[in-house]
Subunit: 224 residues, 2 copies
DNA sequence: CGATCCTTTGAAGGACGTCAAGGTCTGTGG
DNA sequence: CCACAGACCTTGACGTCCTTCAAAGGATCG
């Protein structure tokens, strides 16, 4: 269910969306804001829009009938999410923190893609990037140990963060559900990495992390 | 490395490949055969061809540096695999049993896709199908128990098999590496499902399986 | 500054992995 | 056709890594 907090219409281009079509500047972007924890769309809902994170963070997850949750991806500033080829969303998307998104109608994108090969090509390469991420995550979930998973997660977040210290928007529970672990195991793994000098906390919160030794962090990744 | 055993050139159409382009009948399909266990292509090798299983079965997997293996998918008769958007394969593909494949040059496919919107669309929907499979597998690997995983695997194979009894081409090791388990755990889960009347072995081999109660099998899947 | 949520840490339990042994199936060669 | 070798599968005993349960220490927000 879409919780509309702000609906200021902002005439804009879709270039920011990365579809690379400079020729369709007429499409307007809408800006929405979601409070922490609110749902952006639900699994199996019709996929009418494509989203881009303007500020904040989003989690995409699937639930099992008994409440077990698997987060498939986190979407950070600049990321596009909710792009479907079929007409249903395959994940539920929620704002991890207060989040602003841009969104465009999927329909308009598909109309463009039908004639513009560049846009069509970009749709494919975005889907491929998602596939690639999922494939790597399969290996993590199927074959890596707890410490390896946490190290891989931190390496991924570090890679996606420009600043020197990361401010993780998601809770230990989110991290655990992303890595197929429990919060306690995540906490223990982080503690261990901290003891071994890989990272340290910054300030007076456990979500601000600085990587002290990237090479040492890398050494925990058995991939490649 | 491609191990060419048979290279009879067969003039053919690419319709069988399911790209839905009746207008490009000039492209020839090559038929290759791979012996049991031989590599079809390796991870990070240039992706020059797209493959379709004509007979047999193929496993796609990634290896960790210490030999841990995660199988991402099994490709059975009719399945297309090795379709990449980038120019490298992201998995290693091996013949599970003696396998015959058709293959076409990726280049020719890409040339067609650039002008033919139908082919381009099919490339996208095939990639999306792969993505969807990977996403469901994430949930299995991250959040399902051993019995749930094996039940889901059997349900998947059952769904993809037309015959009443399945003849699994892959070993317990393959199944284990697909499900993120060990062979012993897979064996125990199968035994348990057999005790509970979900399935039974057929003939004098443990790879011929008949599902006795599909509804009971379904009941082991906590998804949806 | 109190209430609540989140995180950490310890202790105990359990599901799956490891190790080991024996049974089954398959292919090969006598 | 049988004998043997080797690979594969099953089953049991035991170990271990992760989970569960519990409690206490931060962090956040009113």
């Amino acid at each position: 269910m879409l919780v509309r907090i702000s609906d200021r219409r902002k005439p804009n281009t879709i270039d920011d969306f990365g579809f690379g079509s400079a020729s369709h500047k007429t499409i307007s972007l809408m800006e929405f804001r979601y409070r922490k924890g609110t749902e952006i769309y639900g699994e199996k809902e019709p996929a009418d829009h494509v989203y881009q994170v303007k500020r904040g963070a989003v989690r995409s997850y699937k639930l099992l009938s008994d409440g077990r949750r698997q987060i498939g991806a986190f979407h950070l500033t600049g990321d596009i999410f909710g792009l479907e080829t079929g007409d249903q969303h395959r994940f539920t998307a929620e704002a991890v923190v207060e989040t602003t998104v841009h969104l465009i109608k999927r329909e308009s994108l598909q109309v463009i893609a039908a004639t513009d090969a560049v846009v069509a090509r970009n749709l494919l390469s975005m889907t491929t990037r998602n596939l690639e991420h999922a494939e790597n995550h399969l290996v993590l979930l199927g074959r890596k140990t707890a410490v390896e998973r946490v190290a891989a997660f931190l390496a991924e977040m570090d890679r996606r963060t420009e600043a020197h210290t990361m401010s993780l928007p998601m809770s230990r529970r989110d991290i655990a559900d992303y890595l197929g672990l429990t919060i306690e195991t995540v906490s223990r793994a982080v503690s261990r990495l901290r003891c071994e000098g890989v990272l340290n906390f910054v300030g007076n919160t456990q979500r601000e992390i600085v990587i002290l030794d990237r090479q040492l962090l890398q050494s925990f990744d058995p991939q490649n």
